[in-house]
Symmetry: D2
Subunit: 405 residues, 4 copies
Amino acid sequence: MREVLPTGGFPPMLPAADHGEGEESMPDGSRIGVWIVGARGSVATTAIVGTAAVGSGIVAPTGMVTAHPPLDSARLPRLESLVFGGHDVVSTPLVKRAEQLAAEGVFPRDLVAGVADRLVAADADIVVAPGDELSPGAVVTRIHDDLTSFRQRHDLDRIVVVNLASTEAPPAWDHAPVDQAEMDAALEDWATCPVSVVSALAAIRSGSAFVDFTPAAATTVPALVAMATYAGVPFVGRDGKTGETLLKTVLAPMFADRSLRVLSWVGTNILGGGDGDRLADPHYAASKLDTKAQALDRMLPNDVHSKVHIDHVPDMGEWKTAWDHVHFEGFLGTRMNLQFTWQGCDSALAAPLVIDLARLAAAALARGVGGPIPELGFFFKDPIGSDDDRLGPQFTALCEWAATL
Amino acid sequence: MREVLPTGGFPPMLPAADHGEGEESMPDGSRIGVWIVGARGSVATTAIVGTAAVGSGIVAPTGMVTAHPPLDSARLPRLESLVFGGHDVVSTPLVKRAEQLAAEGVFPRDLVAGVADRLVAADADIVVAPGDELSPGAVVTRIHDDLTSFRQRHDLDRIVVVNLASTEAPPAWDHAPVDQAEMDAALEDWATCPVSVVSALAAIRSGSAFVDFTPAAATTVPALVAMATYAGVPFVGRDGKTGETLLKTVLAPMFADRSLRVLSWVGTNILGGGDGDRLADPHYAASKLDTKAQALDRMLPNDVHSKVHIDHVPDMGEWKTAWDHVHFEGFLGTRMNLQFTWQGCDSALAAPLVIDLARLAAAALARGVGGPIPELGFFFKDPIGSDDDRLGPQFTALCEWAATL
Amino acid sequence: MREVLPTGGFPPMLPAADHGEGEESMPDGSRIGVWIVGARGSVATTAIVGTAAVGSGIVAPTGMVTAHPPLDSARLPRLESLVFGGHDVVSTPLVKRAEQLAAEGVFPRDLVAGVADRLVAADADIVVAPGDELSPGAVVTRIHDDLTSFRQRHDLDRIVVVNLASTEAPPAWDHAPVDQAEMDAALEDWATCPVSVVSALAAIRSGSAFVDFTPAAATTVPALVAMATYAGVPFVGRDGKTGETLLKTVLAPMFADRSLRVLSWVGTNILGGGDGDRLADPHYAASKLDTKAQALDRMLPNDVHSKVHIDHVPDMGEWKTAWDHVHFEGFLGTRMNLQFTWQGCDSALAAPLVIDLARLAAAALARGVGGPIPELGFFFKDPIGSDDDRLGPQFTALCEWAATL
Amino acid sequence: MREVLPTGGFPPMLPAADHGEGEESMPDGSRIGVWIVGARGSVATTAIVGTAAVGSGIVAPTGMVTAHPPLDSARLPRLESLVFGGHDVVSTPLVKRAEQLAAEGVFPRDLVAGVADRLVAADADIVVAPGDELSPGAVVTRIHDDLTSFRQRHDLDRIVVVNLASTEAPPAWDHAPVDQAEMDAALEDWATCPVSVVSALAAIRSGSAFVDFTPAAATTVPALVAMATYAGVPFVGRDGKTGETLLKTVLAPMFADRSLRVLSWVGTNILGGGDGDRLADPHYAASKLDTKAQALDRMLPNDVHSKVHIDHVPDMGEWKTAWDHVHFEGFLGTRMNLQFTWQGCDSALAAPLVIDLARLAAAALARGVGGPIPELGFFFKDPIGSDDDRLGPQFTALCEWAATL
């Protein structure tokens, strides 16, 4: 017997729930846990408020791709079947967080009152994130226990773990662990074991799907990819594309399809709350800038001078503005340019995609789809398992795949 | 038997050249005439300069989609095989027109000296456009004669007629002619017979392909569509998409694919030379605004408040700036917006597409493809024969089709 | 003796209140009525909410120039001394209007609750505007009566009438009335007597200051200017500059001071509520476009190709976006450009200026300053009595003048 | 007698030319040398081309403030009286440099042919800049000799030294030298003696005016300011304001005058040639970012979150684009924003100002005006001798001062 998993002293995986019958039960009966790392953050709070509000018919599901044709006919769990829980380092009640977001204009304040009981209920399932006083390995065990307890408490059929934590610094390793031995070694020290890896490991160990909506390292770690594939759990990411990069993935193909030669593509992002503070630190920003830059290189046939700035501008609050300048060459060497300004609310853009991903990952888990899912590349800046960053083909692939669930 | 074609007293069609062997001979031997209505305009001049300059290897073919993968492997006529001629109302020599454009920055002035002999040669094939002192029917005959003479003079295998005339006013008819009888009646009076219809009729009658790069009526006339289909000549259009509309056809699908609800899409175009003067007249602008507006409606699932202004700003010369403001609603009703500014040189954007279309239409003519060609929708604001305005799928369709030529 | 005033059968002017002692009493005792034409509109409601909120110290007076150095040391009536009343065609209670504006993001909803009693109080002083079933002359009398009653009801020392009505169509007269005879003739028919003239006449007749914050005709009518000057009542306007024009009045001087030659200045304004609907009608928009265009001509030494669009885009709600494109020529003929986008809330920009003007006009009235006040040009697109549109010199002039009050 | 100057072993100052009779002779007879540090750079070349072209009436003096009312009536040297010379590290002939600039669109190529003889003449007066193989003190002597020779060769009445060298790194001193002793010490080592200081010292020593159009340290050095004041030579700077900062100095006063509270002002500059390369190095950029930031702080009453990026984008060539985002708060806390994009050619913007400054400084030198000239603040990002950065008041001050020359 090949003893790849479990590693070290980890508890055995949770008994696989009902993968076999998943496709039948999902749309009408199964209960899905959505365990969020960073569960009191702006995106998470908006997702929880929105799931309740849309699920109860108070507002339309604008921005949720699984609620519109053709994906609305895929076999996905209902919004009412989603149960939220998770970790966070802060303990502000969700109702209060929601009121703060409403004051920033993220959603109407009336909405909060209408879903307050759901927020209070979710509060009970959000536990304080374990800190680095424990070893990484001990934290994996702790999260595993939290997931087990969450599953039992709500009689959940399946769990999807979604990473919405602040951008983490690139890990200080020579190379990412590729097998069990390297993974075990990395687990000895926080310097070589980013929090996202710990979360992912706990997710896989407990038979949960793992979705990374941040630019964290976890989904790029070969050892984890192999482990998730072996375990038959979806392992998808990374870094949701919600603004500047989303635009790049439709505009760059336009230049390419028209044989226009992009010379330079430079941009500046200004943002306030949420990740803004952390991204102002170049050390942390490195992860983000990395996922932002790669897409462009993959979509254009020639080398492009590119540069992206991320500025933390506290007064912007929950809002984000991106300005991009694209300088290109056309026929006979003529120089022209395109500029765009995107003014959006990050939480409003990201939250519905988080719900979409939770539904899609839960369905994939029910079908036993393990490891990266290239067809979910539509959602990500750096789609693990795929090298096509173009939004149009990504959407086509997503729809075709979802029809098979 | 219903004698649809030829109509009335029109001369018989020119003998079909060598359709049967076209696919073999094209890339290496046949000679293609490109007959341009508006042959001394900015776009035409740039296309003639560019064909010579690119054909002789002086500059790279940036902006020509048929010169880049995968279309560069399609069986298309070589640039060196293209012979230019046409009509125009002005008689300024092409070398002088080219120098004017170089002074405006459309291309480097050095280029003009390098291709001057080619421009002088083309001058000899550009005749003064017949005016409205003749009846529409008489002008059809006259153009037909010009095409015959052009073909014989250069021993051409095939001709592609390309309409690059200034935007024409919408015709004063209740409905476009649907059959021979109505077409014959329309030909009696210039009020019911726009110049584009006359050009198209002469093209079809002479067995030439017809490409409308303007928002003219010709390609929407059922009688002409039937006639071209019957005659086995390509009949494609209309209104090249080179700027604002090009962007719309990648951005609108992005909003649709992400289930974001566009509330309004308003824009302002400012342009100087070329068509700017004419488009400042609301009567003429109607055609243009019409083709611009339709694409949006077809690509978005909901009604959108849309508005497009076209302003003639003489000091802009050959340059064009478009500003668009897209107001959209996201999750939980949050309002956000996208703005873009596109600063381009219209001739530099349009000319390579004209060359692409001449090559593709010539190849289709060689293969006997008659009537509208939906797979050429990639080039047009209002693609006749297709209702898919999305650039990505259009490019895929174009490439697949071109591979069959 | 030329009997200019009073005209016809008008009631005599109200007894001049306490002009003589005004300068002493104002900052500490006098009561000022602010009678608004269009008192339930967005700007008026915001001004009433804001006067109460700022006056009671709930929020800072951002945007009010009379509340910041150096104007905060001028002798002006206190905010607490302002009593609001006026006319409107709608009867929605102010509290409800304020809640609507708060929902659009014009100000925080909490503010409404804090000043609700003040809004309810003002409701009692807002009467339904007389319609055109009466003759213009009869309406003048009616408004005069309303002002008298307002004054008595609140024991007011002075009244300032502020026109915030929707943009009115240009009057159908050959020339504006220049004397009493022509004024009397104009008063016979609504076609030759715009509502603004009726309001202005009633204001002057009752000894009130008149401030036109709209592009209405009143302040350009020579007969009214003479009448106000004779009567010793301030008569100021017109059309508050709050966005695109405000920017023009600092940017155009920059180009002029630097000897850069502006070639064209074109812009597009998109706006939703408020005046947007009316301005979409070219007949009404004419007034607005007129005041917008003139400033540019006065500030630049050469002829400039200029164009302004105003589009009604309902989904923009209370928000307004202006995009301007300035094409200019520099040294040795080099062409360059400046673009700006201004995204503002019209009511938030206009309301504090209305309060400023009410305070300044009240102080001027107390000092017996009659007719146009060039030093108030700072506030207006088309400053009556001045031909200097440059914001900087206007601010200097305002501050110097205010110091003399 | 206070022996402040000359220091150490420096040669004595050149005999003061004809200060006494300057005001009479200037407009009609005197000859002015313009000695440029960086004389083959883009700005210098454009200034030399432009002086010749404008002086001979080939093109209009657009962008030169001294050629337009009211400054055109000031007593300033004629363009024909300006003789150019200077230092540079490269030796490309000016005609070739001019052709390169014409190819980039900075000015029409025809212009170069028309002034070629003037460029060839200037070539003879541009010497290779001394390198750091000599000590700073030795280089001062060497430049002094060059200036003496230049003066004698052309029988010049006066010389203006203009620094147009690439942005220099901030000097590695604790504090700038404040007296002769510290200046002498600084001259021992290049680490404590930036090139601009050496140029300035040589200029003062030779009785020439010194103008710093870059963000170099020279004009902020107390010892040099004292020396220039004592010597009666104009000593002005620094860092010409030509784009983003120019706009800031009209827009910031607008916000201030309207009591709107600017929360943040962030911007990105992208530029190619000229200084772009050097400014991409954070060490050099520090000087530039410093002069850019200060103006904003001086013009706004509250603390503003500000940030400026400068990106070197080689494909932009001689062109520069600045995007600024201004987030501000209006009445009742409403958040609004202004964005602008400035697309300009740096050389075309800077060159006419260099000519203006040479003329103004020559006139001041003729009048014996020594040290900083606050009235020239109009031209600079960081106006030495003045703390008013507002363009309007600066222009007024300039005009009033020029009228006294």
